[in-house]
Symmetry: C2
Subunit: 129 residues, 2 copies
DNA sequence: ATAGCTGCAAAATGTTTGCGCGAAA
DNA sequence: TTTCGCGCAAACATTTTGCAGCTAT
């Protein structure tokens, strides 16, 4: 894979993000600073960087567009149903769940994705008054 | 909500399905038998029936389009990574996981969606040949 | 030199919407 | 009869693709 300026810019944008941005969000940020970089290039590079394991594709249920994450280790996401903010979370007992699924269904090589939904502390405060 | 023929046809199609079809799949099935029913009507009714709790929107991670389920109770889904088949699965310890997330993050009213991925028994056989 | 990458525009995909007509209550 | 839902087509949102020229190796 070639090391182009465009690819570096896309990678940097994801590495500096902490909000689990959508592809389109990343494009917007990049486009503001580098208007000559095309949407296709951003999307292509996001996919390639994901394939090479340098960034992660956060698969969100629902059709609201997928997101990208600078963290590549296994962790879950917790979405605030009020403000949409997404925070990271370590998993409880990931192996046990996969094991359980495997035994119960006969499927092999089982893995999973869990997304949590709730109300974040900030939004809890706002709701009180 | 009015009880139209179209809405009944859409509901029947979902209730008879066992493959967790996408909206477009449901439209295809209906369109084959009732060519006069429009795509917009199918989509609108799927959304309305979901809102009323008569069917369920199965939120799949990834951007492969969301699916609909005749079952409205809480259960997980297991997707075969080879053939794409989706089967239902009861959850291991759903309450414990939500409790854990709540304590760990301070979010309230926590719920979650888990999707499992694996290789189904049929595809395991095929791979051995 | 020559793959591989880019920008552009168009296509593909999946879903929603505006509007005038028709049907359920 | 009046309101809600339908069919149609167009709009929309997001992502992918074909292609001709450019660039990193």
């Amino acid at each position: 894979m070639r090391n182009t300026k465009q690819r570096q810019i896309v990678l940097d944008a994801v590495m500096q993000s902490r909000t689990h941005p959508k592809a389109e969000d990343i494009y917007s940020v990049i486009h503001a600073e580098h208007p000559h970089i095309s949407r296709a290039t951003v999307y292509r590079n996001l996919n390639q960087l994901t394939e090479m394991g340098q960034i992660r594709h956060v698969m969100m249920p629902g059709s609201s567009g997928n997101r990208f994450d600078w963290r590549t280790d296994h962790h879950s996401h917790l979405v605030c149903v009020e403000c949409g903010r997404i925070c990271d979370m370590e998993e409880h007992a990931p192996m046990a769940d996969d094991q359980y699924a495997q035994e119960k269904t006969g499927y092999s090589h089982v893995s999973h994705v869990t997304v949590y939904y709730g109300t974040c502390p900030d939004c809890q405060k706002k709701q009180k008054h």
